[in-house]
């Protein structure tokens, strides 16, 4: 019986370590794969990309809403001294700008109903400043949602998106 105590302890130790490691690394791994998938689907780095209007024939993400206009921007603030200048153009109905870090956290959301919004996204560890948001991780995704429940409203939202910006700057 005593000869099994060592292997049993090793099994328990490995189980606990694997359990904790899986939970710890899962969010970052999931987001890393999601960002790679977005890149494969043509979502640009440091520019907003608007996929087609969500329909049964054009849907790539589970549970997308057919009533919303979406635009995505991937960002990477790894390069020292760089920041991201972000702007959403005015839209008369609901619109928001939401920021997701490399661990999937929605670390900031800015609502912009009826107005344009301009702000800067700063690299991790930057000093907070007015009109700026500090990203918890160097990489992430920014998502614009605009209420556009009809084909006409979607076309108008797409036109408005010409004024959106997601640009890497010193």
């Amino acid at each position: 019986m005593r000869r099994w105590i060592g292997p049993l302890a090793a099994a328990l130790g490995c189980a606990a370590a694997a359990h904790a490691a899986a939970l710890h690394f899962a969010p970052a791994l999931i987001m890393d794969r999601a960002i790679a998938a977005l890149a494969e689907r043509g979502v640009a780095l440091h520019a907003f990309t608007a996929p087609q209007r969500v329909t049964p024939q054009a849907q790539s993400v589970v549970r997308s809403s057919p009533d919303l206009f979406y635009a995505l921007c991937r960002y990477d603030l790894s390069e020292k001294g760089m920041t991201l200048a972000v702007r959403i153009a005015a839209w008369p109905d609901y619109q928001s700008l939401s920021f997701f870090d490399a661990r999937t956290d929605n670390f900031a959301t800015v609502r912009g109903t009826g107005k344009a919004v301009t702000l800067r996204l700063l690299a991790p560890g930057s000093a907070p400043s007015r009109g700026a948001i500090v990203s918890p991780t160097a990489k992430g995704v920014i998502l614009i949602r605009r209420l556009a429940p009809s084909a006409d409203r979607y076309a108008a939202a797409a036109t408005a998106s010409v004024g959106d910006a997601c640009q890497l700057e010193p």
Partner: protein, 199 residues
């Protein structure tokens, strides 16, 4: 040599068990349903208010990463899902339903139908959802059926949906909804009207 093999085998079994149990407990195994989780239930509509947040425990964090990717935090939007009618039967394409409700505690809301794979059903009916802009003030109703019911003002198509569920999105939620969802939200009803006889 046998002793080394015993330790190696024990480590492998332990790691496999630890990994598998973590994935199962966090809802990360393939096929895990969003309906299996959630901390809020209002009249059969289930929601997970941890979505989008920096949840404290690692299980919730991992689960949210998998099932709530790019979803907004509850201060901006909350999402409820329901897969059964008022009698508790699964929602099916072979049946028609009356979806009804009243004013919602949010700036804008919508109800969207998704198939078992969480995708919009493969049809070209252009009737995938119903939202606040069409509901107007006060009480509203919409019919859910595979073909447009005669005289229906509002219709959500379930054609090619098979067994489906509905997602209720509430954007710009009232603070009362976040603190007391059962008190603030009058859950939309889903009444079965008829079913096609089984072939």
């Amino acid at each position: 040599m046998r002793r080394v093999f015993a330790y190696l085998a024990a480590a492998l079994v332990g790691c496999g068990f630890g990994l598998g149990s973590a994935l199962a407990m966090a809802g990360l195994l393939p096929g895990a349903s969003t309906m299996a989780f959630g901390d809020v239930d209002v009249g059969g509509w289930r929601s997970d208010f941890a979505i989008g947040s920096r949840a404290a425990d690692p299980y919730t964090r991992a689960r949210v990463a998998r099932h709530g990717l790019l979803a907004l935090a509850k201060s901006e939007a909350v999402y409820f899902t329901r897969a059964t009618d008022d009698a508790g039967a699964p929602l099916r394409e072979a049946c028609s339903y009356r979806l009804s409700g009243g004013a919602m505690p949010a700036g804008w809301w919508s109800v969207t139908l998704y198939d078992a794979a969480s995708m919009l059903p493969a049809n070209t009916d252009g009737a995938l959802s119903f939202d606040a802009s069409r509901a107007g003030e006060g009480a509203w109703e919409a019919l859910i059926a595979p073909t447009r019911p005669q005289g229906a003002e509002h219709w959500i198509s379930s054609r090619n949906a098979g067994t489906f569920d509905l997602t209720l999105r509430l954007y710009m939620p009232d603070s009362a909804l976040l603190t007391d969802p059962n008190g603030a939200l009058k859950a939309p009803r889903i009444e079965q009207l008829s079913c096609e006889p089984a072939a």
